[in-house]
């Protein structure tokens, strides 16, 4: 197969800083004292805990789940006792807390019995179901549950399977390390994906700055082809070395490079018959389908100039970052007692930083990752990299930047071919309709525009702020629409009820009238009685009520009384 590579617009060359974390071999991280497992580690519906505080859990035991199809259950990564189910700092941009299951690790690492299954006999639907139950999500960073994506892909039909081993962000080497060490697992996982999706060709994209990974993948691919143990050989599969250029690893960009196709705005890759999956997810699928083991650990890179011994570790999910940084030799500059003060709670008067606080923790890469407010946050399914940067690497000072000089460099590097400058102007003046007109939601937030901006405008932040504002408005509109529907429904219901009651009353009255008419005919005596009664009533009506307070009236008052009396009489006559 001869692959003709295409280009995407723009992109930038970055110092890749990948060598640092590749100096040590891949290691297995030791168990920490405590694992903190956020109930939601994926995109979709949150999980509900299935264990109680005080329960002892075993490795591989299901501890949280949800009935929603767009969700992914959580399994205990080791044995221990659930010590709390409470809000805890989680790795999220906001630096806020969310509900977590905390497990006090007992160190025995006892596991449940993983029933053996025979994957060779499984149908695609069974495999997808299995992947769902074992908590597999996309490990490239987005953490979208893999099973709904697979079943959708299966429904729509896939012609090209793309395996993403690009890893274009600086510092991150976890996929590189995985490809070098577990290429076989990845290749077997690709085999299972091919069984589920039946693509006509499979392309494994790897940037050419990872020659060892490319070699290992090719080797594994060849040995797989020769091996007899696998009934089904890989069809039309190739490792493609692509030029190093950020952000080649973005799904849209990788698809463009490998196939020349663009995903239409607002659509997803499988809408055009392409399915993209990260190498890490492939290895996790292999583990799930061959060993029946859920996702309990992943490879995490710890790197940056703020940590002594950068490297890659196989880490149990829920491991606090602090533990991992300890394994990486600790911080270069002492303890991070007040982490990244320069980002959070900074003193803006001339930026007086604390002398000893010089570090900035980032989860993910420097281009698209996010600052962490604390090293207490745990590793989750989507954590690929922990970056510890010394202060001098931080370019942006919040709120202060030069004016845009319209140089257009941002548009030149934008892989989505947007006009970042126009987006900036409109975001800044909060003209959200305009921002959407300029296709803000096609922005992949890769950060190229911010990185090249001579005025150092934090463009991506402007876009993120606009996006979240627009989303909030959409949500509010959604909610008010629901309220309107419920209100109108209630009004209708009340009206109906009223009508029904009236109808009932009318029927009752009619029935009564009929009854009385029948009675009237039946008995004249009744008439006589009625006449008597009428007479009494008439008499009562004529009865003069003794007026009070009529002594000593003035002429005026007497006149008023006379007028009133006359009115009453007239009324009575009229009535009669």
């Amino acid at each position: 197969m001869d692959i003709k590579l295409s280009h995407f617009n723009g992109g930038i060359h970055l110092d890749d800083h990948k060598a640092e974390s590749l100096t040590q071999p891949l290691q297995i991280a030791s168990l920490p004292d405590q694992l903190i497992l956020p109930l939601k580690q994926h995109i979709g519906e949150p999980n509900k805990p299935l264990v109680d505080v005080g329960d002892r859990v075993l490795r591989g035991q299901l501890i949280a789940g949800s009935s929603s199809p767009i969700s992914s259950p959580i399994h205990a990564p080791t044995s221990g006792v659930v010590s709390a189910i409470e809000p805890h700092l989680v790795p999220h941009t906001s630096g806020q807390s969310a509900d977590c299951i905390v497990i006090d690790v007992d160190g025995k690492d006892e596991s449940i019995e993983f029933e053996s299954i025979d994957v060779s006999q499984m149908q695609a639907a069974d495999m997808i179901d299995h992947i769902r139950h074992l908590g597999i999500v996309g490990l490239g960073g987005a953490s979208f549950p893999t099973s709904p994506k697979l079943s959708r892909g299966n429904d729509l039909g896939i012609h090209t399977l793309i395996i993403n081993g690009v890893e274009c962000e600086p510092y991150i080497t976890c996929d590189d390390s995985l490809m070098q060490n577990q290429a076989d697992d990845i290749i077997r996982g690709i085999g299972y994906l091919q069984r589920m999706l039946k693509p006509t060709k499979t392309l494994i994209g790897v940037e050419d700055n990872k020659p060892k990974a490319i070699e290992a993948m090719n080797l594994a691919l060849q040995s797989h082809a020769h091996s007899e143990s696998h009934s089904q050989a890989l069809i039309n599969t190739e490792v493609v070395s692509i030029p190093t250029l950020y952000p080649s690893g973005g799904e849209k960009q990788l698809i463009q490079i490998l196939t020349g196709n663009e995903i239409p705005t607002g659509r997803l890759a499988f809408d055009i018959g392409i399915f993209c999956q990260n190498v890490g997810t492939c290895a996790a699928i292999t583990q799930a389908l061959e060993l029946n083991q859920p996702l309990m650990s992943r490879i995490v890179t710890v790197s940056g100039d703020g940590v002594r011994k950068p490297g890659n570790w196989i880490v149990r999910l829920g491991t606090p970052i602090k533990h991992l940084i300890g394994l990486a030799g600790g911080y270069v500059q002492g303890d991070l007692n007040k982490p990244s003060l320069n980002m959070h709670g900074l003193n803006m008067h001339g930026f007086n930083m604390h002398d000893n606080v010089q570090q900035h923790l980032v989860m993910g890469g420097p281009m698209m990752g996010f600052s962490l407010s604390s090293d207490e946050v745990p590793i989750v399914k989507g954590s690929n990299n922990i970056l510890v940067m010394q202060q001098q690497l931080i370019a942006q000072t919040p709120g202060i930047h030069d004016e845009c000089v319209r140089c257009g460099k941002c548009a030149e590097v934008c892989p989505a071919q947007l006009l970042p400058q126009q987006l900036y102007w409109h975001s800044r003046s909060k003209e959200y309709e305009k921002v959407e007109e300029y296709n803000l939601f096609d922005c992949i937030e890769c950060g190229c525009c911010s990185a090249v901006c001579p005025s150092q405008i934090p463009l991506v932040q402007y876009y993120r702020a606009s996006k979240s504002e627009i989303r909030a408005t959409q949500q509010a509109t959604f909610k008010s629409d629901r309220a309107r529907i419920r209100f109108e429904f209630r009004e209708k219901r009340l009206l109906l009820k009223k009508q029904q009651e009236e109808e009932k009353r009318r029927l009752k009255r009619e029935a009564l009238l009929k009854k009385s008419a029948a009675k009237k005919e039946a008995s004249d005596a009744v008439d006589a009685v009625q006449a008597a009664l009428d007479r009494v009533k008439e008499k009562n009506g004529e009865k003069v009520i003794e007026p009070k307070n009529i002594t000593g009236l003035t002429a005026d008052q007497q006149k008023q009384i006379d007028v009133a009396d006359a009115r009453r009489r007239a009324a009575r006559e009229q009535k009669a």
């Binding site: 617009n9 705005t265 959070h344 709670g345 900074l346 420097p366 000089v405 319209r406 071919q417």
Partner: protein, 339 residues
């Protein structure tokens, strides 16, 4: 704890405004040196006065607008504007002319619109056009190149001229620029070959001017190499001016000057690489830049051939500045994934 959450990317900036402006200043040096070589150090006096007052006006306005002064002065954008403005003036302009022009450029051309990044018109050109229209006599009193006049002025003489100290009657040494000369002569139906006999003309353009233009070209190449500017505007500008000049030149070499003459005289080279490429006032999309450059090239030829002024770069740039929003609007690139 008030929390300021800063968005990624967390990378060192690869670029800065100051860097861009310094690159432009470096780019101006070869042409300026050529200028000094042919016309004496008078231009340096122009530039110095201009920069001094530009910084003064900038600081004054920033103070009025309650903005931070130092970071704005040290982005050197005012220096670039002042330098470009000074280069447009006749060599020995009086000091007040420079002050009026640069003052108008900085105050009306730049800050009244909101300062750097927000001005729709190139401030240097705004200042130049204002003094050109207001003071036609001073603005057309150009000196002859030293090689022709034989009068090599020193720095002291230049300062005397600038501040009108002592005997400042220098009409004897002044003449029209080559462009002016061509225009006047062509109006009197003098054929080009005859016009070129005048001592004012060198091999390709005016004596001295051709080499100064070459200096701007070298500076422009430096800007291209350092990616301070992109190729689109200069290429489109020189291309369109060259094409139209060539077309008329081919029809009749006696009534139209050659494309090379157009390129190498007046402010074309300076305009193509330094003025039209001012990012703030130029078109920003790549396609737009090409249309913008073409428009300026055509306007320059139009004004030179049939307009009231011998050179038209400043007017052409300002007119094109006006069209920029329109150009940008209609040359938006196709967004990824759009149909």
């Amino acid at each position: 704890m008030t929390s300021v959450i800063v968005s990624s990317p967390y990378v060192n900036p690869s670029n800065s405004l100051r860097r861009l402006m310094i690159n432009v200043i470096i780019g101006l040096i070869p042409g300026t040196l050529a200028y000094v070589w042919f016309f004496g150090p008078g231009i340096l006096v122009n530039i110095s006065i201009s920069i001094l007052f530009a910084l003064g006006f900038e600081a004054f306005i920033l103070r009025l607008r309650k903005k931070r002064i130092k970071p704005h002065l040290t982005d050197y954008s005012a220096v670039v504007t002042a330098w470009l403005f000074a280069l447009c003036l006749p060599t020995h302009s009086p000091w007040w002319l420079i002050v009026v022009g640069i003052g108008f450029a900085m105050i009306a051309g730049k800050h009244l619109y909101g300062g750097l990044g927000l001005n729709p018109f190139n401030p240097a050109m705004v200042g130049y056009v204002v003094v050109l229209i207001s003071f036609p006599r001073e603005m057309t009193t150009w000196h002859l190149p030293i090689s022709i006049s034989g009068e090599a002025y020193g720095l002291v003489d230049s300062l005397k001229f600038a501040f009108a100290i002592g005997d400042s009657s220098w009409d004897a040494f002044t003449a029209a620029t080559p462009l002016d000369h061509v225009k006047t002569a062509l109006r009197q139906d003098v054929p080009i070959s005859e016009i070129y006999q005048a001592p004012l003309f060198g091999k390709l353009g005016g004596i001295g001017w051709e080499w100064i233009s070459a200096g701007w070209l070298i500076g422009g190449l430096w800007l291209l190499i350092t990616k301070t500017i992109r190729w689109h505007i200069p290429a489109a500008l020189l291309g369109s001016l060259g094409s139209i000049a060539l077309a008329f030149y081919l029809v009749d070499t006696e009534t139209a000057t050659s494309p090379l003459f157009h390129w190498l005289s007046g402010g074309v080279m300076l305009g193509a690489f330094f003025i039209a490429t001012d990012p703030v006032t130029a078109a920003t999309t790549n396609h737009g830049r090409i249309y913008y450059g073409i428009l300026i090239g055509l306007l320059v030829y139009l004004i030179r051939s049939w307009g009231g002024y011998p050179d038209g770069v400043a007017f052409a740039v300002l007119l094109a500045n006006m069209c920029v929003p329109l150009i940008d609007y209609y040359t938006q690139p196709k967004v990824y994934g759009a149909k």
